[in-house]
Symmetry: C2
Subunit: 318 residues, 2 copies
């Protein structure tokens, strides 16, 4: 369930565009108005607003935002105002083109591939081609080394069946295949790559359950024993995103605020990409795991308009 | 260029449905009327006709065709009347579920993956999920053995960039990679699989040209020297479909009529799936390669309404 709240009868895109334009004019910017509008519209409404704004003022809404805002607030509101497939294509491209990239930068690719609907992933691949003149799998193949390349190319190429059809015989058999490969520390074995990269999510959850039942430890625990560094990390994230995406994003939010300093990019990404998907569940999970709501985590670690914007996406009246 | 001819101002779907209904009624069927209508409408017009027929008569057009026609004519007209993505999904499923399947049965998967637009392949994958409750890559992974599985899963999962962007440095480098793997007779090497399965078609054609320039033999010739049976055959088809699909389909049509007997399923598939795509070019290629038009090949090997239907799809007035 999404956390973002949309007015029952929202203003028309023309009215919204006019209010936005007014917020940009004069001395200073009325950030509260920007948050009140953009933070309370769904993806298709935001798209309509951006198009309408362009038509009326012959100016890009994104350029107006860029010229008036700055810092983490700007980054967050730009990401949010982007059409979701385009937004995710850009996030993936940033990750692939990062100069000094660690495996953590690649998590976003796994998130888009394993914690989105097949339809959304397809739309992201389409947007990627339009924006960057090549396919996402092509860019992964030429920017990422083996063995990560193998699993990432497969995951982004999937178009999983999206209804609940589970074959328990297959689940048992494939749990055995997974266990065999993990036992041999072959985390890039074809079995692992194909099972995780082609099966529907319900089938995979059944396979993970069989794994636990049969071998008394979870697939996560066994992967973590392999000592395979980055590959192990990426696989763990993939399995978590398949098994329970809200748990993964609760972990991401926690990691972004935990300890000294805040990783605002990480926090923004988690909230912006999931506010319209499953933020209510992520919040429940975060509460359960860390005894703190996502809202309180945001309040504790951010400030100003950036804080207000994130809280708005979390459904709080500010 | 397509061979099928559409009237400039075609009758409405309602008029077409009424004419079809009349053709089914009374003593015997008016096959010529069926051919005249369905054989001269494009995919979206056929879809509209099938929907309209269903609405008016509360009966499926496909069922009506099935109850009135038979043999190769029925098979061909059903395949043609199907929506193209659904048609190709069914062809792939038939290939995967064939009891005694040889590598030739799998050619259709390569054709759909390598000789269609990325958009069409995406639509086929979507249709496959709707029709068969699992993804096409899932079915390939569980029905086809290695090493064919590896190349087929990759090819059907591609979403290639579809504009002409070629990087000659990449083409030269990847020609070397391909040559290296082929020289070592490793036809399922990751390099081959990823290059063929992710790059855009223009880039790949440049790579094949570099290959020829650098090594004085074509990639086809070198693959054929590997002695790798089915894998060699499948790769050759993939490269041909990427390099010059019209040549591949000219070969298919030739194979279907050459010698004693006719492989009607093969002939039907080639003409039905390409009549709206590139049949004019296929005909030119067929003429060049075998000194005979596709039309003459059809006339020489088929008869009756089946012949008339295929000739109509080839653009001939019958």
């Amino acid at each position: 369930m999404e956390s973002v709240t949309i007015p029952e009868i929202p203003p028309s895109p023309v009215q919204d565009s006019e209010t936005l334009k007014k917020a940009f004019q004069g001395w200073g910017t009325d950030e509260k108005a920007l948050i009140r509008i953009l933070g309370k519209r769904n993806a298709s409404q935001r798209k309509m607003i951006a198009q309408t704004y362009q038509q009326i003022y012959n100016q890009s809404l994104f350029d107006s935002l860029r010229s008036e805002l700055s810092g983490h607030f700007l980054k967050a509101i730009l990401l949010w105002t982007n059409d979701p497939p385009e937004r995710d294509a850009r996030l993936i491209n940033d990750a692939l083109k990062a100069k000094k990239k660690g495996v953590k930068d690649l998590h976003v690719i796994v998130e888009v591939a394993c914690a989105s609907s097949p339809h959304h992933l397809m739309a992201v691949r389409k947007a990627y081609c339009s924006l960057f003149d090549c396919s996402v799998e092509e860019d992964i193949a030429s920017n990422i080394q083996l063995p990560l390349r193998k699993i990432l190319v497969r995951l982004v190429s999937s178009y999983r069946y999206d209804k609940e059809v589970v074959d328990m015989t297959v689940a048992k058999l494939e749990a055995t295949h997974l266990h065999e490969s993990i036992k041999n520390k072959e985390l890039d074995h074809n079995h692992i790559v194909w099972i995780l990269g082609t099966r529907n999510l319900f089938q995979l959850r059944a396979t993970f359950a069989c794994y636990k039942q049969e071998y008394s430890s979870t697939i996560h625990q066994d992967i973590l024993k392999c000592g395979k560094g980055d590959l192990q990390d990426l696989l763990r994230i993939a399995i978590l995103c398949i098994e329970c995406p809200e748990k993964h994003f609760a972990e991401v939010i926690r990691a972004s605020v935990y300890g000294l300093g805040t990783d605002e990019d990480l926090l923004t990404r988690a909230i912006v990409t999931r506010a319209e998907v499953d933020m209510v569940k992520i919040n429940e999970e975060h509460n359960k795991m860390y005894n703190e709501s996502v809202e309180d985590a945001v309040i504790g670690d951010t400030s100003g308009h950036y804080k207000d914007f994130l809280l708005t996406l979390l459904g709080k009246q500010i």
